[in-house]
Symmetry: C2
Subunit: 339 residues, 2 copies
């Protein structure tokens, strides 16, 4: 079934406004990247998807197909249980299409835990990878800092941290264009030997590797952009990601409160808020779309449930880039070279 | 030697501009809180301190004394080794004065690790406390969120997290006025059973305690102010503290870059920067002064090396409040009540 054209399965029941936003995102992705040779397989309730598609008469129907999946995994469902029980769900069907190599990538804004679980179980892991990781981008002084793991794992081992570093370095180079990216290990101090036992052991593994390892970095180095890739356990990474995501809203609320009642200060506060929004655009998932689950034997892109069509479109672009750049092939090569 | 008047030992060689900033901070503290009955013992090189004092003819000399200590522990010195070897240093002398109960508190902007080590070794720990903790304040929607541990410990055990929660709750109540403060455990999800093995075990200890425990909180809840006290391991806490401290500088640099060359946008960017500064004032150590090392058998206040006289003054105020509110006595009572 697979040709040279890249085929991407989209879980059309993923967003909070499914399938409307998901379908619109697919239509927009195809419209905006006419030059790229990819097509989209919409997976979900066929009649609902068809009804949504009918609202977009200009849609490039030659590059859109539908695979029916009658069931939907709920946002709050327990991931492992849902993936086992709901074989007819859009999420499990979509991942299975990918495992059967009928498509080259899978994209979903649905239940994050379920996407991770289904991808890991059904696609399997890349050879040499013991645990997949989620890499997310933070804004930095001159671009992005890519941080992993931001929540795919708890109780991380030193060997996992090394694997995260290999995968995230390849991702940063292929998708962000950072050649031979610098890598730092997130720690409580810069000196070798600092931090938890896990960090001390991981330091040695990274130092002995062929990665462009610069040693330990601290919490302040993420936004500073001291290195391009920051590696940490999934517990710490998840907490700084959510902390960082809360900064714009916190500041905007404070600015609103500080603005008071005068028209002048209100205007200034409004201007400040818009400045803040532009700075934090890099961290806005509506802009960057989704994050890849690195380390599975395939391309799986995870998005927020609150994704708009714009975010869905950007998730599809990310999937297409991951396939086109053969990120997984390059991870395998890096591991084989004893990175 | 000790009367009813509170006596505070200040490491006069602590700041990067010692003893000038340290001495000026002491002079200002006494001037601004005339109504409070406390005195300051300046510990350090007597001749240098006397020379600085001479520059403040209005200083309240009746409430200032000097204890000579010829040696200074360097900022970059290895803490344990320095504390062992440099017995004649201002830092070790000051802590020793406190251990001998010649003073009621010790304050230093010097080598943080050395202050922690000296305080723990020389003062000893409070009964029932296995590890001291550093609690730091973050701004929140309606006041402060007090987070501990922010870096006193690595390889934290669940029992340590429980002790941090007891100490930080007392601190939040006595110093910040949050009666029976709400407590959250920093985790990667809100549901019980989430996160690392350490967090899962700590959850049970906190749930069984008499603390006002509200369950797990996430990275976003710190600034949101979901709870007053957030408990985490020292590794994670140190990383979010340093991340948060880097936010204002990062945003100001971005605003400067976004401002461009036009006078109008430059002005707006300048206004935005000043808004940001006011919002982050709560996290500025020049304002809050220093953080207590909770759990040692005494009052030990730790400050940044870059402290100005204003920060030193605020550290002295913090020490005086810790003594006056008998925070340690209340921690002992809370532990005895099986908090």
């Amino acid at each position: 079934m697979k040709g040279s054209r890249i085929r991407i399965a989209l879980d059309a029941m993923g967003t909070d406004n499914a399938p409307a936003e998901d379908v619109r995102g697919a239509v927009e992705a195809l419209r905006e990247r006419r030059e790229r040779d990819f097509e989209i397989v919409l997976v979900g309730r066929e009649s609902e998807i068809a009804a949504e598609l009918a609202k977009h008469p200009g849609a490039d129907r030659d590059r859109i197909s539908i695979v029916d999946a009658p069931d939907v995994i709920a946002m709050g469902a327990e991931p492992a249980q849902a993936v086992r029980a709901q074989r007819e769900s859009s999420l499990v069907r979509g991942v299975t299409l990918h495992a059967e190599r009928q498509v080259d990538a899978f994209v979903s804004a649905g239940n994050t835990g379920a996407v991770m679980t289904a991808s890991t179980l059904i696609l399997g892991r890349l050879a040499g990878i013991s645990r997949p990781t989620i890499a997310s981008q933070f804004p930095s002084a001159d671009g992005y800092t890519i941080v992993a793991d931001v929540g795919a794992n708890v109780d991380t081992k030193p060997r996992n941290l090394y694997e995260f570093a290999v995968m995230t370095s390849v991702y940063a180079e292929q998708i962000f264009g950072y050649v031979n990216p610098t890598v730092g290990l997130l720690n409580v101090g810069e000196e070798e030997g600092k931090g938890e036992a896990r960090a001390v052991e991981a330091y040695e593994l990274l130092k002995a590797s062929r990665l462009n390892f610069k040693g330990n970095v601290e919490g302040r180095d993420v936004l500073k952009g001291t290195v391009r890739v920051v590696i940490c356990d999934g517990f710490t990474g998840n907490i700084i990601l959510k902390f960082a995501e809360s900064v714009p809203g916190f500041l905007k609320a404070k600015l609103r409160a500080a603005a008071g009642r005068s028209l002048g200060t209100k205007l200034l506060a409004a201007v400040s808020r818009s400045f803040l929004s532009s700075v934090f655009k890099e961290m806005d998932y509506q802009e960057y779309g989704g994050v890849p689950l690195l380390g599975v034997n395939g391309v799986s892109i995870i998005g927020h449930g609150g994704s708009t069509a714009r975010a869905v479109r950007n998730m599809i672009f990310k999937a297409e880039e991951m396939v086109r750049h053969d990120v997984n092939g390059k991870i395998a090569a890096a591991l084989a070279a004893g990175s």
